[in-house]
């Protein structure tokens, strides 16, 4: 069985895998930045008292969480051009990941902000701080610490979700595995190799999460 496994072909295809890996990394990074922006805006809308901003934010978050990412991706890739918006597949891919992940990021940030005890807000209100001052000086710095670990968890999910972009022919990591599988009929080699690369990315992000929590844990530990 293993004698059929061709390490040589893997080595031969390494440049392709390398390129795929690099594409996966930067498009995930870009998408995550996009997701943070989408998430912060959604979260700010969601924390308003009036329903005018809150209702659309909630509807959007529900819609994204209720539907498969693949369906969202297909809508943007196949549906948008029919509505008159033609975008390159890479842009569509990054847009889809940002819009999708943004909904989850919004909920992570909201949970972080709401986890700050009411007394913190009261203390800052009592000292005469404005809404912006107490968010900036008291609430967000504390919320930031509790949101970093789940945000990195979301980043890991995003990296794995980016594999779906292979279906709209973005030449990222999974696409490289597909090429090896179809060119040489070597699906075992192709998909096992990309799995290894995803595992590598996973450990990088996990290491980052560990570092950040240790770094954040030392500065001003709370009871």
């Amino acid at each position: 069985m293993l004698e059929n496994f061709s390490f040589r072909t893997i080595v031969e295809y390494l440049p392709l895998f390398g390129q795929g890996l690099i594409t996966t990394v930067w498009l995930s990074a870009l998408s995550f930045v996009g997701a943070l922006i989408v998430g912060i805006v959604l979260c700010a809308m969601n924390l308003q008292r009036g329903w005018l901003f809150r209702a659309p934010a909630k509807a959007y978050i529900d819609a994204v969480r209720a539907t498969p990412l693949l369906a969202q991706l297909y809508f943007l890739y196949f549906g948008l051009p029919r509505l008159g918006f033609v975008l390159p597949e890479l842009v569509v891919g990054i847009l889809a990941l940002s819009l999708n992940s943004g909904a989850y990021v919004a909920e992570i940030i909201r949970a972080g902000i709401l986890s700050i005890p009411r007394g913190q807000v009261e203390a800052s209100v009592a000292s005469g701080m404005t809404y912006v001052q107490r968010m900036r000086l008291v609430v967000l710095p504390q919320a930031f610490k509790v949101t970093i670990p789940p945000l990195l968890g979301q980043a890991i999910v995003l990296v794995k979700d980016s594999a779906l972009l292979s279906l709209i022919s973005v030449s990222e990591l999974t696409r490289a595995g597909q090429l090896l599988a179809s060119d040489r009929f070597m699906p075992a080699e192709g998909f096992l190799t990309i799995a290894a690369f995803y595992l590598l990315l996973y450990y990088c992000l996990k290491g980052l999460a560990g570092l950040s929590s240790r770094w954040l844990g030392t500065a001003g530990a709370r009871t």
Binding site: S127, A219, R222
Partner: protein
């Protein structure tokens, strides 16, 4: 009553104040005037509205009807800038509510720097002096989690003093403390009172009340039942309700 008809204005003036939580009348027709430099102790059983009473003074709670005038400004009046008024009112919480991500000194200087716009160096100098005053000169760089409850509460008092307020409100400042830490906090409060601060203090600490309070206000079920000098109140309570209350807190 016309505005010009007000004869004298205290630092804090409740006039017929009512407040409801849903259908519960938590403050009933409160009329109470606190003069400048006066120390008023508010006591009463749990749920009597005493915390709500002082939380109204800096607008942490809003009132339903009646008038509440603080430092000459009517609360709820569109002309009253609440944010500005709050800078004149220090509030000490039962649970301290120090900022856990800031050191003791940063806790004290945060609002002076960002709200009062005092230059950082000047605010830090004042902050160190205040921390020294509450006996924590060696803890300026400690985080709240590294301090005991009594130390945290003293930082919280210093944090209020850093704003140079005209009024200080204390909401059961020693209730969350271990018994041996209560006196260190009370000592600081006595010192603040002796400097002439206008204070409303929700507490059952009778020693403190006898030492510095000009008046004790006893509340029950949202209403002021009795008020008098500490001596009058503790030695010769006038109502059955206050006698029953005192017999409970004095039993031990």
């Amino acid at each position: 009553m016309t505005k010009t008809g007000l004869t004298k204005t205290g630092m804090i003036d409740f006039r017929g104040v009512n407040k409801w939580f849903g259908s519960l009348n938590v403050l009933k027709d409160i009329t109470l005037s606190v003069e400048p430099r006066e120390v008023v102790v508010v006591c009463g059983p749990s749920g009597s509205g005493k915390s709500t009473l002082i939380r109204c003074v800096n607008g942490l709670e809003t009132i339903k009807d009646g008038d509440l005038v603080v430092d000459g400004q009517r609360l709820g009046d569109p002309a009253t800038n609440m944010t500005q008024l709050r800078t004149e009112i220090g509030f000490v919480f039962q649970a301290f509510n120090l900022y856990p991500h800031k050191t003791a000194l940063e806790n004290v200087t945060l609002a002076p720097i960002h709200v009062r716009k005092i230059p950082r160096a000047e605010a830090e100098k004042a902050g160190r002096e205040l921390l020294a005053k509450v006996g924590l000169a060696d803890k300026v760089n400690a985080y709240p989690a590294q301090l005991s409850g009594g130390q945290q509460q003293r930082v919280a008092i210093a944090r209020c003093l850093g704003m140079r307020p005209k009024i200080m409100l204390f909401d059961e400042p020693t209730s969350a403390l271990d018994p041996e830490m209560i006196s260190e906090v009370l000592d600081v409060m006595v010192a603040v009172a002796e400097e002439g601060m206008t204070m409303m203090v929700v507490t059952h600490e009778m020693g403190f009340a006898r030492k510095v309070a000009q008046r004790v206000v006893f509340m029950d079920a949202g209403a002021i039942v009795e008020s008098g000098t500490p001596d009058e109140f503790f030695s010769h309570p006038k109502t059955d309700r206050s006698r029953a209350f005192l017999s409970k807190i004095l039993r031990h």
